[in-house]
């Protein structure tokens, strides 16, 4: 399985990237810098 070969340190940092991206998006939404997101 590919996951077993993955580097755990890299996995950890990507965890933080996911949080970072989400917070940036939340800020952009808060300051109305993104158009309304529809589904």
């Amino acid at each position: 399985m590919p996951e077993t070969n993955a580097n755990s340190k890299r996995g950890l940092s990507l965890d933080i990237y996911a949080v970072g991206l989400s917070l940036v998006l939340a800020l952009l939404v808060h300051f109305n810098l993104l158009p309304a997101i529809t589904w």
Binding site: E3, T4, S8, S22, L23, L34, A36, I37, T38
Partner: protein
């Protein structure tokens, strides 16, 4: 859940080139996910226009099925692999953004119940899995990995535990294959069982979050039932994920005491290293929503962003599931995993029934 995103082909590549390498796979995720959404909407329009009574089949299922068909027929070409492997990243981003749909009070209420039930279920399932592993004559460390994978968080828990208990690559691969196969089966069986038992959205979501192994599969199993159930499943699963560090630490100490793993020095640092950081992001966004940081339309935008992130995740679940690889494993790890999963599903179902009755979900 697999925590890690496949490392890019070479660390010597610049960040720009690494991002370019992700684009084909990201596009494939988007196309497969959107195709699932399109099929759901088309069926709904057609059945409504023709007054046909037909159950709504969520895009989640279509996206996973399309991904499974591609992965297991023509296969996913190498050029798409790096981008497709980012589905775990979108899962975590989706979970953090989903925090905006929870008031912190709800998180604490449901999270407390989830924590209590997860604690009971984990203790019982560990005892049961070790008994099973012994009966089936599995290697003790393989049994440990299966127990960790089926009790906590599937693949990421196995990856976190592997170096901590000095387990073999082969054992980890077996355990991961078994957990992935069982996760795929749960996707299709849990919603059926939930509907036949007429479980409420909250009860079903809690059950899926406590019993389905991988976070991606638990999220999908919840979303297949209803939007509200998907929300609760994510919360329950996130609570379970938060326990990874404690369980891996306990195993590391156990195997070190037997001289078969390295001694853990700084336990607090170990816990922090293994703690899934996106849980903190989820709580932070939930706190912001509770404090009124977002207006109602903004909350809707954040919820929709979370749904788009999950759309990419569900496409990835199908595209990354190789039925051939799953069939390659020995039958024993799969049998132990399967029996253990059924046990965990039954225990957690009983616990959820009890919680629904006495703790008012």
């Amino acid at each position: 859940m697999a925590t890690t995103i496949a490392a890019p082909p070479s660390h010597r590549l610049s960040i720009g080139k690494q991002i370019v390498l992700l684009i084909p796979g990201l596009l494939l995720l988007a196309v497969v996910g959107y195709a699932g959404k399109f099929i759901e909407q088309s069926i709904n329009h057609y059945t409504k226009a023709n007054h046909i009574v037909f159950p709504n089949i969520e895009y989640v299922l279509w996206a996973i099925v399309i991904g499974l068909v591609i992965a297991n027929t023509i296969g996913v070409p190498r050029i798409f692999e790096a981008g497709v492997a980012t589905y775990e990243f979108w899962l975590k981003a989706g979970i953090v953004l989903l925090g905006s749909r929870f008031l912190l009070g709800d998180v604490l209420h449901l999270g407390r119940i989830s924590l209590l039930l997860a604690g009971i279920a984990i203790t019982l399932s560990f005892a049961f899995m070790h008994l099973l592993g012994h009966s089936f004559d599995l290697k003790p460390k393989l049994t440990s990995l299966l127990a960790i994978g089926s009790s906590i968080c599937g693949v990421s828990a196995i990856i976190a535990a592997k170096p901590a208990i000095d387990a073999d690559d082969e054992d980890a691969s077996y355990a991961i294959a078994a957990i992935l196969a069982l996760g795929a089966i749960s996707l299709f069986t849990f919603p059926l069982i939930g509907h036949s038992l007429h479980l409420s959205d909250k009860a079903y979501g809690l059950w899926a979050g406590l019993a389905v192994d991988n976070t991606a599969e638990a999220t999908a199993a919840g979303a297949l039932y209803s939007d509200a159930a998907g929300k609760v499943a994510v919360l329950a699963k996130t609570t379970r994920n938060a326990l990874i560090g404690f369980v891996v630490l306990a195993y590391a100490i156990y195997w070190a005491s037997r001289g078969e793993a390295q001694v853990v020095g700084n336990k607090a640092a170990f816990l922090w290293k293994k703690f899934p950081k996106f849980v903190l992001g989820f709580l932070f966004v939930s706190l912001l929503a509770t404090l009124g940081y977002f207006t109602k339309p903004q909350l809707t935008s954040l919820a929709n962003l979370s749904r788009w992130a999950f759309l990419l995740t569900f496409a990835g679940v199908g595209l990354r599931t190789s039925l051939r690889d799953l069939g390659k494993q020995g039958w024993k790890p799969f049998a132990v995993g399967a029996i253990g999963e059924i046990f965990i599903a039954l225990v957690t179902l009983g616990l959820v029934y009890g919680a629904d009755r006495y703790l008012h979900l």
